[in-house]
Symmetry: C2
Subunit: 211 residues, 2 copies
Amino acid sequence: MQIAILLYDRFTALDAIGPFDTLGRLPGAETVFVAQTPGPVRNDAGNLGMIAERSLDEVPNPDILIVPGSPVAHAQFEHKEVLDWLRAADATSTWTTSVCTGSLLLGAAGLLRGRRATSHWLALDALTGFGAHPTGERVVTDGKYVTAAGVSSGIDMGLTLLGRIAGDRAAQTVQLLTEYDPQPPYDAGSPDKAPADLVAELRAQSAEIMK
Amino acid sequence: MQIAILLYDRFTALDAIGPFDTLGRLPGAETVFVAQTPGPVRNDAGNLGMIAERSLDEVPNPDILIVPGSPVAHAQFEHKEVLDWLRAADATSTWTTSVCTGSLLLGAAGLLRGRRATSHWLALDALTGFGAHPTGERVVTDGKYVTAAGVSSGIDMGLTLLGRIAGDRAAQTVQLLTEYDPQPPYDAGSPDKAPADLVAELRAQSAEIMK
């Protein structure tokens, strides 16, 4: 079982590491970070380099494909090699997954047409442009396509899929070892729960946030 | 404001990235990954390299110090240069923090004597060996020392400290932008909640897990 996590310029680190340290603990699986060019890939804020061990060509047939998001995920729409790889990898994958605006990349590759999917709350509407049906759920499974909402939701997605593949006990083991018993200090993690004026403010700034 | 995140051989990625993508979004702060030797540092499973941009010597006085954990955190007890740096950095820090077994490194550096602190649930007892008073809380603040429980708790720690430093609105903004509205698929994230036989099994294997 091979899990491939796509890295690209200005990806969001937690989008990748959430599923990595949950689903990536799948017993017997090999997880590999891939990118157009192997080597260090910078995150969204430019203050972290994570290493892609392999090029896209070197990992043509992962069993599980994980696409993290980025405030500038749309910049990857111009990278034909990335979209071609997504389509080719998806053709043989068992599961094709995304976190946050990673779903826009799956959409741009034509993989979400007619499917229920999710994304970062500020990017949900953009999914319709790819023929997908956005939902407000945190983790959406439609066939082999599993999309997660913004950034931190990749942890919930990773545990959900781990349970689906390896059983409840395996997923509970990883949940307990990662001590995932969340106690956020505020109840502001979704647009339904956060202060309305904060939601409005961020919506107004979304062109700036997702530049 | 400078935030330093310590990397060392076999650190746990989510321990570092949880606070990085929350507290690290502190407006105006610079976050830098540091290690004994700059360059790629491998994670616990050996399947990820994250880059430490600077050596310990190059970052002597961070305002906020973040120490992630590792199943082999104790291996760092032999690294005098690391413990010396922790002591020196702590002497001028505003906040000294840890995630998971990172608190054992703070303890080994002599920084938690007489203080309330926490760690990964499998490592809590080890804190007493450093004169600390372990608690079962997820995030423990004692003066300027903020310690978090296992792995994923660094997200809660990061948001808590962000709120303390920059105010509730700043922390809620980051929580909403990271869409941290957790919906774990199981309620198994702490030894109080997970199936008792699973807790017992992992306790029995703890010497193997924390080797």
